[in-house]
């Protein structure tokens, strides 16, 4: 456990001595709940349509696929036409594109960012490395199957899929969202323990709260 996270005794300005436990005091330790959709069917459909039409991707390039996302911002492919744009903070993003091999160290950061996104959130895995380890199938450092650790809505195959494939994938994702079948967040919340067990099996020094709000 890192030095700054250990429990420590602190004396306040008025001499009162008390204990500070960083993991309990600095982080909210609530667990995620399953969020049911809106009451009315029609309202949920409207929201799903809006979510489909305005996909905000988190700017977090994990592997070699990130370079494939850049052309989408250029005039040739222009993802903005489909209501897709990139947001710097996970708070405001609702799509997390895992673009390539995911080392254990990056997985830890990916989990933290994923958990900081708000409920209807989707994960798209790019390339064969997220599917089955790809050419790093025998690597000691990369995970082999993404959906063991994060609820993945869509895989776009290819080593690395070209921007056209990405656009096709996003359109496919839109269909899923509009159909209401992209409930990865609820799935993550439902079997949270299973996901967390898998993650901890691979990430040994887990110096964060279980769910990073």
């Amino acid at each position: 456990m890192k030095a700054e996270l250990e429990k420590r005794l602190v004396t306040g300005p008025d001499g009162v001595e008390f204990e500070v436990d960083p993991l309990r005091d600095y982080y909210c330790d609530a667990l995620p709940e399953v969020q049911r959709p809106a009451y009315l069917r029609i309202v949920e459909d409207l929201f799903n349509w809006a979510r489909a039409e305005s996909i905000w991707i988190l700017g977090f390039g994990t592997g070699c696929g990130a370079i494939e996302m850049r052309p989408l911002m250029t005039p040739r492919f222009d993802a903005y036409r489909y209501g897709i744009q990139w947001r710097p903070t996970p708070r405001q993003a609702n799509l997390f594109v895992i673009s390539g091999y995911l080392s254990v160290k990056t997985l830890k950061r990916v989990i933290r960012s994923y958990e900081q996104m708000q409920n209807p959130k989707y994960v798209v895995g790019l390339g064969s490395c997220t599917l089955n380890g790809g050419m790093y199938f025998d690597s000691y450092n990369t995970i082999k199957r993404l959906d063991q650790y994060l609820p993945v809505d869509l895989y776009i195959t290819g080593c690395m899929p070209r921007p056209e494939a990405l656009l096709a994938g996003f359109l496919e994702l839109k269909k899923l969202i509009r159909a209401g079948k992209a409930e990865g967040a609820n799935q993550y919340a439902a079997n949270f323990a299973w996901y967390k067990a898998n993650q901890k099996q691979v990430i040994h020094d887990w110096d964060m709260p279980d769910y990073n709000w």
């Binding site: 969020q35 959709p37 809106a38 929201f47 250029t74 005039p75 222009d78 903070t89 708000q118």
Partner: protein, 301 residues
């Protein structure tokens, strides 16, 4: 001034019109900027979709009471600014709630939203938020100076602080506009307009490439929706003030739409092609270029 209750529904109508116009105008401007980069650009209704999506988000987090109230202050600032200034000159319906206060109220009410938002961002505990606010405040103080000078010059010229009277003085043909009767003041005001519209070269505070989007870093889903609503209303309200003071106000809605579009295009045209200033460079730029023109304006009147 007796308070006739009819003003409220009419001002809500103004609010609705301006809100929709704001969303469409922002989308249009985004498309123009895209077309400059030879990109197709977002569809015009995209802002609506983003708004609905953000309102539709199921979970939110809250860092504390004032974090929760930040966007409320911001939106109240935007709506208030719009309603305290008469949108259409001469029409009994669209003079909004301008009876309450005059130009000074509008000038200082701009800071109400900024202050509330700054406090909310501060409470999020994110260092980028505080850093963004510090940069924003530094830039705004320098940007406000030429605008204050221009407003004072206009007040001196027309010997009044009431917006309605200023617009009244500019009616009757294009040559009565302050643009022509007091060009220096308008020049200073427009330079300061560039600074307050958060577009390059002065968009360091909210630029995604800088520290992630400054103050609203920790805001998301319904908070962000409120901020988006404000981003539709607040720029229009500010432009309305510029229109009323310097460009002869609007007597009917089409003229209003046209003038607001053209004024906004000034900052868009400059913004699309220019790089980004650091904060001290923008402060120096304002103090070296915009303020002397402002001083000339108040001396010349």
């Amino acid at each position: 001034m007796s308070f006739d209750w009819m003003r409220i529904p009419w001002s809500l109508v103004t609010l609705f019109i301006v809100f929709n116009y704001g969303l469409l105008l922002n989308a249009l401007i985004a498309k123009i900027a895209a077309r400059v980069g030879r990109r197709h650009g977002i569809p015009l209704w995209q802002n609506y979709v983003d708004l609905i999506k953000n309102y539709g988000q199921r979970t939110t987090i809250s860092h504390g009471v004032h974090f929760y109230l930040g966007p409320v202050f911001r939106l109240t600032g935007g709506i208030g600014l719009l309603l305290f200034v008469p949108t259409l000159y001469g029409s009994a319906y669209f003079a909004n709630l301008s009876f309450a206060g005059d130009l000074i109220l509008a000038l200082y009410f701009v800071f109400f939203g900024t202050l509330g938002m700054a406090l909310g961002a501060g409470e999020s505990g994110h260092p980028y938020a505080a850093l963004g606010v510090s940069r924003g405040l530094s830039q705004v103080t320098a940007a406000e100076l030429p605008f204050a000078l221009a407003v004072f010059a206009v007040a001196l010229q027309y010997q009044t602080l009431s917006v309605t009277e200023i617009v009244a003085a500019q009616q009757g043909g294009i040559h009565h506009w302050t643009l022509f009767t007091n060009p220096l003041a308008v020049a200073a005001a427009m330079l300061s307009f560039l600074g307050s519209m958060m577009r390059p070269p002065f968009d360091l505070v909210l630029a995604p490439q800088e520290i992630p989007i400054g103050p609203p870093t920790e805001y998301h889903s319904s908070y962000l929706a409120l901020l988006q609503t404000n981003r539709a209303i607040f720029p229009i309200a500010k432009v309305v003030i510029y229109m009323n003071l310097f460009f002869g106000g609007a007597t009917n809605w089409p003229v209003f739409f046209l003038k607001v579009f053209l004024i906004t295009m000034v900052s868009v045209v400059v913004g699309v092609v220019s790089p980004r200033f650091r904060v001290e460079q923008s402060i120096r730029w304002f103090l070296i270029w915009a303020v002397p023109i402002g001083i000339l304006a108040i001396l010349w009147v």
